[in-house]
Symmetry: C2
Subunit: 299 residues, 2 copies
């Protein structure tokens, strides 16, 4: 008994097959080439999915898409920088494969994976924060995904954590994304390097700065890297505490690139956290969205 | 057909009778004297309620209490600076009056009033922000009050809007309450007066500063008062925008002392608001909690 999941991203589209233990037993990936018309993208996904369908005869197909998704109608309303506009995604896959198809927002899929097979199992109230280029989120309340009346709720990257702070592409100032995303961490790491060109952080940065650079420097004892990580941890904790006061979740999962710092990250944010915050790092190493998509038809 | 509502506050306990049009047709108030044992407080409430019961023979009693409330069990778990600890409030009133009794958190009552009889009628997703000494909140999602698994969700005064900001009594730094409450506005008004002792704001402040003082000064053209109000409006808008991104509510009601500034306040926050934020000032002039409490048994 297998189920197929598709995780549509801005760069790649991931396709995977999971077994009854929710393990990914086969996996493939195609480039999204996001600027193309949506018809081309979907044609490529269908072509890439076909051999998996033939080999595994899955019970169902689940699809995670970025942006605004109407799961009841199986419709992608908008999808960020992809060209999807009111695309009847579920119907197109049903017609192609004659299988039950479910569709959800990608962050919702990632949270479903944590609820059903990951670090949020056993809870009825849980959130996920995705710490990548941006900061995304999703929520399960009363054991149900909550997306608001317009399928846009859960944008945890855009609550304000700094009045008059960094301008954000959403039009506001001081959004959490401007302080807790990988992009924010890279920005602040580069600034720290400019201020301390003789530091270990600066020497690590000569090969290019990414979200791992300050963590590497800090773990090697560099006080400049340490300071960048400490401030990042403080900011992330501020956001987690805020979400705790707003929702009182039983569990908050962290995923995305920064979450790969795992226990080290948790240790650094822990001193700033309210005692009731139960934050847990996703263990799906980037496959959460795929697994959650595959599980959608089981909800 | 009448219903009786009780709104327990830290200073006063309000008792009111509403008619079928949700109008308050009779009203009374007793001092809480919050330091007393809860048995005394409840005895006084029952004594004050009795004549209303005799005169109006209401169909039901609804009670709003501060703090953590378990509405299913009719239990006040904790109530801020009141002595209530696991008080079976609903049962005590049922035994006293042999009427159906419902109990909820006071901010939840205020939102119910807006949903059923006030500015949030016709919506299924709505929030309330109470702008008083502190900042409180409540939420209706999918047309249901949501309080989290532990009856503590909706503390909109305690998401962080300023990293490393003003320390808050909750233990965090930079909470929204430290920037959007009447107390915060009074703090900032006093600071502005110290900096501009010759201003109209300062002369108005000689009779004592409250949440109205900077609004009075601004409305009379004082640039110092104007600046305080402008910054307050910016901060309040930041919180409203944050809640919009998190929940996508169809309506956000404002109540509490500061909300009495009404249209003037709305005009000042409007330029900072996301276009989709539908913020409305409560029209219940302080009786929302009472009306919502009275309506609880109709839910």
């Amino acid at each position: 008994m297998h189920r197929l999941g598709i995780d549509i991203g801005g760069t790649d589209i991931k396709i995977g097959v999971i077994d009854e233990q929710n393990h990914v037993i086969d996996f493939g990936k195609i480039p999204t080439l996001a600027q193309r018309p949506w018809e081309e993208i979907i044609r490529d996904i269908i072509a890439a999915v076909s051999p998996f369908i033939e080999q595994y005869a899955p019970l169902s197909i689940g699809i995670g898409s970025p942006g605004r998704v109407n799961p009841k109608e199986g419709m992608v309303i908008r999808a960020g920088n992809l060209s999807f506009r009111n695309v009847p995604m579920a119907r197109l896959f049903e017609e192609a494969f004659h299988l039950p198809v479910a569709l959800e927002n990608d962050a919702n899929c990632a949270l479903i994976a944590e609820m059903k097979a990951g670090v949020c199992q056993g809870f009825t109230e849980a959130l996920i924060l995705t710490l990548g280029t941006g900061v995304g989120g999703a929520m399960v309340l009363n054991n149900q995904l909550y997306s608001g009346y317009n399928f846009r709720a859960g944008e945890f990257g855009h609550f304000v954590v700094q009045l008059h702070g960094h301008p954000c592409k959403c039009g506001l100032e001081g959004c959490f994304e401007q302080y807790a995303s990988a992009s924010a961490l890279i920005r602040d790491t580069k600034a720290a390097i400019l201020e301390a060109p003789g530091s270990l952080l600066a020497s690590l940065g000569t090969q290019g700065v990414d979200g791992r650079t300050p963590f590497l420097a800090a773990q090697q004892g560099c006080p400049v890297g340490e300071k960048v990580v400490a401030e990042y941890a403080y900011r992330l904790a501020a956001g987690l505490n805020s979400l705790q006061f707003i929702f009182q979740p039983q569990c908050i999962a962290l995923s995305g690139g920064i979450a790969k710092q795992g226990d080290y990250l948790i240790e650094r944010i822990f001193p700033h956290l309210l005692p009731e915050v139960n934050v847990r790092v996703s263990s799906f190493s980037g496959h959460g969205g795929l697994i959650g998509a595959a599980l959608l038809p089981t909800l």
